[in-house]
């Protein structure tokens, strides 16, 4: 039972998705515009936001950015299928995952649950790598004593990599591990998330010391 904010301008689609997600056991509130969505987001602090990118007024990208600025509440965007501009723009704006229109409620529900699982606790170990300190139980990270705010997805990606330093993970592996996607996952999700993570934990994101790129294959956490 999660509190979900659905921002969608078409009333029939909005109502249909609300009905379907409610059937899947979620508590769904709705907004019909970006402005109203942001207002409701501040008022109700939902567990997750489902956001249509095509909105009148403030568009979905801007709404996503503001939600991301406000904290680590996960965002799933709804895009037109194969519309790369939407996908890339949404991911850059900080979205955790995306589904394509017309969204299958079962797929959307699976994504929602996967994202929310990342926010849940983990086996409580403490990982320390040089200046980086990762508390898996509390899901908190600090860099040289300073706390770093990560979204659940960024946290889960960091944990996955940091638990096996030196092991190379392909994008596909990470998609299945972190995003719980099937075999056709979109590797751009991984690349975008790595960039956001580096921006937060690396001193110089261009020459990363923790999350390294293995050219042509994937990523790994640097061995000490």
């Amino acid at each position: 039972m999660a509190a979900i904010l659905l921002v969608e301008d078409d009333p029939l689609v909005r109502r249909g998705l609300q009905l379907a997600l409610s059937r899947h056991g979620h508590d769904v509130r709705t907004s019909d515009s970006g402005e109203q969505g942001l207002e409701q987001f501040r008022a109700s602090t939902p567990d997750l936001v489902v956001l249509d990118l095509m909105l009148p007024g403030i568009d979905g990208f801007e709404v996503c950015r503001r939600i991301r600025d406000a904290g680590d509440v996960p965002v799933i965007i709804i895009t037109a299928k194969g519309d790369d501009f939407d996908v890339v723009g949404g991911l850059e704006a900080g979205a955790d995952d995306y589904v394509v229109k017309p969204a299958q409620p079962s797929v959307l529900d699976a994504r929602i649950r996967a994202v929310l699982r990342r926010s849940g606790g983990d086996t409580g170990d403490l990982l320390v790598h040089r200046d980086l300190r990762i508390d898996a139980a509390a899901l908190s990270v600090s860099l040289r004593g300073e706390p770093v705010t990560l979204t659940p997805t960024e946290m889960r990606l960091l944990l996955t990599l940091a638990r096996s330093p030196g092991q190379v993970f392909s994008r596909q592996q990470l998609l299945e591990e972190v995003w719980e996607h099937d075999y056709l996952g979109d590797s751009r999700l991984v690349d975008n998330c790595v960039q956001r993570l580096r921006a937060k934990i690396e001193t110089s994101p261009a020459t990363p010391e923790y999350v390294e790129t293995v050219r042509g294959f994937g990523y790994r956490f640097a061995r000490r």
Binding site: L19, Y183, L184
Partner: protein, 487 residues
């Protein structure tokens, strides 16, 4: 063979015609002039010889005893020179070996006409001779002439004249020969001036054929070629106009499909959302209602797939489809594709190689899914997927155990909404699957072909070049911040 083809060329034909006319003309002129010159030469020589002999005879006759005796005949013969024979009734005075050449025809002509007669002959050895024969007549004081009975025949060589004539002929032949290179040069120049506009026209026509509809030739002059040029330019204008019109209409149609498809998404989103609610709700309903709900869900799914395929097709039409490359373990990708659709135990996957190829994983999945889905629906078991690779090329062949494709179907199987027979009209595909698969193959600069396997089943072969070239989109995310691939 090549020589004959060369002769069929316009340039060669012009050249040959020009040379023939020139040489024939020059030869005829040379021949005519050489002939008249040689006739004049022979006539002049002939006259000179006969007049000389007549003159010599006339210097002697007044002092010649008449009727002549043998010494008188000898004297006359001596004055005329060698190779001469003089006769009077039974008397005969001859000198020189060539006198035997004198012909009976000449003798009878001399007797019949009573005048000086000449005749040209060619001896057995080919040398030309002039025979001169004459009677010597008696003239009365009043001018009346009567034969004297004395006849004189002389044989003179025409070898000198022949040498002169041969020189003349040779120089005429040389002149004709000299006109040959000159004529060839002129013919080449003429052919060039005729062929240059023709060649320009050909280039223009080729550019038009290659799709450059702006290609024109500026017509020069007012000859037939210029008229042809004007006509071809007009034709190009007409083609360009109708092509522009067709392109506009096609663009309109494509935009219409794209717009309709996008507009359909919104109601489909609602439908997709609510049918899942209906499915849950119908669990407790009566069988008819449940069947109705199942039908609605199935048709909604079909509608969704159709719209997705239409959007994909319109993206290919508009040229906005891009491929996102990454290194893909092709065999694993095919296995995943089959597994995700529950086809793993219906399909034999044969993969002697394990190529890792840079390509768009999603588009490869679309191609394989469409080919295998098609084989399972329309062909028959066993369905076989073979993945083979060379350093240059990746090949995926999908073969089924069905009856195979008739030739006319194999040609059209990639057409949009093509249905080989009425029985297939209600199959679950959108009718765009194979068309989209082929477009995806082409997006990878590859090719997808349909044919039949040796065993009789239909066989679809996908060939993709392994070097996808530089136009490929990068696999790293296209963002403004530095790419993660930095070490």
């Amino acid at each position: 063979m090549t020589g004959r083809r060369w002769l069929r060329g316009l340039r060669a034909r012009l050249l040959v015609a020009f040379l023939t006319v020139t040489v024939l003309g020059a030869a005829a002129a040379a021949w005519a002039s050489a002939r008249s010159a040689s006739t004049a030469l022979v006539d002049g020589e002939q006259r000179r010889i006969s007049e000389t002999i007549v003159g010599q005879v006339r210097t002697v006759t007044p002092q010649l005893a008449y009727p002549p005796d043998r010494p008188a005949l000898d004297r006359l013969r001596t004055v005329v020179g060698e190779d001469t024979v003089v006769g009077y009734r039974g008397l005969r005075s001859a000198d020189g070996a060539e006198t035997r050449l004198v012909t009976p025809a000449l003798r009878s002509a001399v007797r019949a006409r009573g005048r000086t007669v000449t005749q040209r002959i060619t001896a057995a050895d080919g040398r030309p001779w002039l025979l001169v024969g004459m009677p010597i007549v008696r003239t009365a004081p009043n001018g009346a002439r009567t034969p004297s009975g004395i006849e004189l025949y002389a044989v003179r060589s025409l070898g000198g004249v022949e040498v002169q004539i041969d020189d003349l002929s040779r120089s005429a032949a040389r002149t004709v020969a000299l006109t040959l290179p000159l004529a060839a040069l002129l013919a080449l120049v003429a052919a060039r001036s005729v062929l240059r506009p023709v060649r320009e026209l050909r280039d223009t026509a080729r550019r038009l054929a290659d799709g450059d509809l702006d290609a024109r030739t500026s017509p020069g002059g007012a000859d037939e070629v210029a008229q042809l040029t004007v006509t071809i330019n007009e034709m190009a204008d007409a083609i360009q106009t109708s092509m522009t019109e067709m392109q506009r209409m096609q663009a309109d149609a494509e935009r219409f499909v794209a717009d309709v498809s996008h507009e359909l998404r919104t109601p489909l989103s609602t439908l997709t959302a609510v049918t899942s609610v209906l499915a849950i709700a119908a669990d407790g309903a009566d069988p008819d209602a449940r069947e109705a709900v199942e039908l609605a869900i199935a048709e909604t799914d079909r509608l969704v797939r159709l719209v997705e395929d239409l959007i994909e097709v319109s993206r290919f039409d508009a040229g906005t489809a891009v491929r996102r490359e990454e290194p893909v373990d092709v065999v694993a990708a095919v296995r995943d594709c089959l597994g995700a659709r529950g086809w793993a135990d219906q399909v034999d996957l044969v993969a002697p190689d394990a190529p890792v190829v840079r390509l768009d994983r999603r588009r490869l999945d679309v191609i394989v899914a469409n080919l295998v889905g098609n084989a399972l629906r329309h062909g028959g078991p066993p369905v076989r997927v073979e993945v083979t690779a060379t350093p240059q090329e990746l090949q995926i062949a999908v073969t089924d155990g069905g009856p195979g494709l008739p030739a006319d179907v194999a040609e059209r199987v990639f057409d949009r909404f093509y249905k080989a027979d009425a029985a297939r009209a209600r199959t679950p595909g959108s009718g765009l699957g194979l068309s989209i698969a082929r477009e995806n193959a082409r997006l990878h600069r590859g090719e997808l072909t349909a044919g039949n396997a040796a065993g009789g089943g239909a066989r679809f072969v996908l060939r993709l070049p392994r070097d996808q070239g530089s136009e490929a989109a990068p696999c790293t995310p296209p963002t403004s911040s530095p790419a993660p691939e930095d070490r």
